[in-house]
Symmetry: D2
Subunit: 258 residues, 4 copies
């Protein structure tokens, strides 16, 4: 008996049916950094026409356990096509989130250490066409221009999360996307800083004050100039050091529409 | 010196600028249950035209601290209009999430207890028109039809989170929205069950097996018939008792578009 | 049939059996601020002697739904005694966590706003004796002395979470405990600050740099001098604005032991 | 100038000073499964005598970035000793948490898939002696004996988190600890189950009902018999499918004390 394969008479199609929150070890390939081992959390789904009762949920897990290649922004489509074929579906999507590590050299001492970023790949196939979105959450320092201006000395600053989500036509590497965001902050972060480095990042942030609005505008300006990027959402959430809430700003744009 | 009021020359408008994650005690008014005290988390933002450098973030907090009336689905617009006026903006939005409590009688013993639901009000004003969305996350029991059918006895079941988000024209109460979801589950939850009640809910769930796909379809059917509801997203996430991941389904529909 | 009341032959007593993560609306009474409505999350448990098979879990929920008085640090024992009597147990405990709000006046403009703190009450009865622990997580600003010293201008600062947990003999109010922590930070936080206030807190933090180690030491010194406090754990976690990890320090002391 | 190395006159020693919440890719070695790549979150700290002002926080990160060997329960001490030497401390600790994956064969079809567990290694050196604690959070199925007994058919069941934390003298592998917990549940979980497997796990759980109290008692009985285990804490949290809260039980024992 195939319970899931039975027919359904409610005449209501389902946009997404699948599995959510499954963790799986993966290898990620990105420009210049070779292969990186990490652990990803997946959401996987297909559409379900109105006449079918249910999807075979176990097949999503089979696809995941059967895929043994490195995953890259470039190759993400292949995983998605395997899933849609295996589920006998017409459209569907995969969302994959994972911590990604970059090796950075401290600005003065040049000592190397890792910094972690939360990265997501989202692929969708609808009406036959493939769409890929990549997102990175980039932790940075923001320093408040108002606080600097009104104070005789000092300025409040804090850790902020910049989020950049881009729908791309040409290939954009993870490392490139992170760099686009980091360069627009008051200062970027490092895992390891010696005293000379700490002096550098403190003074750099003070020399480079930015409102949460400035951070997203400056990032949008970079994304506007990049022809590979069709659409984007850029956000910044500043975990204010003088309040118990965040300052927040967001810009979204679809270049194909406007 | 008004740093935030300065002019900006990057020619990039900001979709949302404001504050995020601020907690505030509120009173909620809903049908039949009078006034309820709870604690809400707010996101508040306005749009920022391209020629303005920044918003005055402290004004959002002033609006929140100055508002002393009970908040209802019906009256949410008034809080939003106060904010937009105070920020001298043209458009903006408020997202408010809070635990909401319902008193329920156990199905057999009729003993009363509270059950908590996570509810969100989202109001937006864009191009002069107001739009209101209400969302409830409703915890329920789901029991797997496939497991019941293939097994000689028993059936795996689990807690699930149904999420129903509705954009409304007419007034829909919180309690109504929760009921629309709860009635489509294998069984609803209770805070307090005596032995006779436990027998009832166990047998009811077994008599009423539903796939995650069934749960969202049956809820969509109810929402389709309700003329007050212009658009909806209905989701269910089943925290499978036999796996370490969730089964998930989602249907979204905008009646004005299709 | 009383399944839970059956005898058990494994000869293993259970330290804690009960319920976890139940949300309930409560009213909190504290010095000077009258009655405050909030939402608490409860863990409730009793010990289970080796010869009893299980506890009657529904009775915990009955106790919670039946308690209609305001809860204070002083009166917390009464809720615990009701629970232990209802469960026919000899020992047990209640852990209650809730957001607590204080009205604060901004340092220069004196504009009032709320600030939220996560507070916990933990009561235990073991071998007939009652023990009460209160904990507050107090968000503050910390400013790094090293960064200030090595830099020609500026200093990195960030939001930090100070946690103070105290076992008391005499009565200590929530507001007192929060004050003990806040006064040891580089600067305290406010919900609402006007420009003159922002200048004040920026300069105050810069004038008052503290390592994470200084913050916990200065708080320990205050707690050491207070005769009502029998034992404490003081922690600080600084969400460093120049790294993607926290600096952390902790001091614990039981005055009755040392 | 060495700010952190300056003397301190408050005469208050600090139990723990260090870093918290730093993510780092690691390789884990365990019995039979070779080397496994995963991502760990670390807390690292040392004690600080009363006469020293602060620790050199950057050295913790140096230790992490400089360690390139696989980490095992057996070899965890070496990482800790390197840290204590580098920090010029006498005592300290490392807490490392990571998702760990096991390959499991489905009970009937024997199809293989991965299941993830959250594992922690905690090492401490105090007064010269090393102590190692390993913890695993093991997701399982629990089925309620009371619900089964009072109902004419069916029984409520749900996902539960068993947590087993053991202080060991002899070597215990991760895979062994997970097995000790899984075997005491109503049924263990799998990533991938075909229809014949689903029948098996449904019926197995129904044949094997257990209260939350039974689960921790049966695990305690296993841990009591194992001479390598000096002390333990065993917990189970059942995410009840008929309530919106958890059932919970805990047993702790130090064999050297009782």
């Amino acid at each position: 008996v195939d319970v899931q394969g039975a027919s359904d008479t409610r005449l209501i199609a389902i946009n997404r049916a699948g599995i959510k929150g499954i963790r799986h070890p993966v290898t990620i390939a990105d420009k210049g950094s070779g292969i990186q081992h990490t652990v990803a959390t997946f959401n996987m789904y297909v559409n379900l026409p109105h006449h079918l009762k249910g999807v075979h949920m176990s097949r999503f897990v089979e696809v995941l356990n059967g895929y043994d290649r490195a995953i890259s922004a470039e190759g993400f489509e292949s995983l998605l096509r395997i899933m849609i074929t295996r589920l006998e579906a017409e459209s569907g999507g995969i969302e994959m989130s994972f911590p990604y590590f970059m090796t950075k050299a401290a600005p003065v001492s040049r000592i190397k250490s890792l910094l972690d970023y939360e990265v997501s790949f989202v692929g969708r196939i609808e009406n036959g066409s493939y769409q890929f979105t990549m997102k990175a959450v980039v932790p940075v320092t923001s320093l408040c221009p108002c606080s600097k201006q009104v104070s005789d000395y000092g300025a409040h600053n804090q850790r902020s999360h910049m989020s950049v989500s881009v729908r791309t036509s040409g290939l954009v590497w993870i490392a490139e996307l992170i760099r686009m965001a980091e360069d627009q902050a008051s200062c970027e972060l490092y895992g390891l800083l010696k005293r000379s480095d700490e002096k550098h990042v403190t003074e750099k942030a003070y020399d480079n004050p930015k409102f949460v609005e400035d951070v997203v505008r400056d990032t949008a300006a970079v994304l506007n100039r990049d022809a590979r990027i069709e659409a984007y959402v850029v956000e910044s959430e500043n975990f204010e050091s003088i309040h118990n809430h965040s300052a927040y700003a967001m810009i979204e744009r679809d270049k194909l529409e406007s």
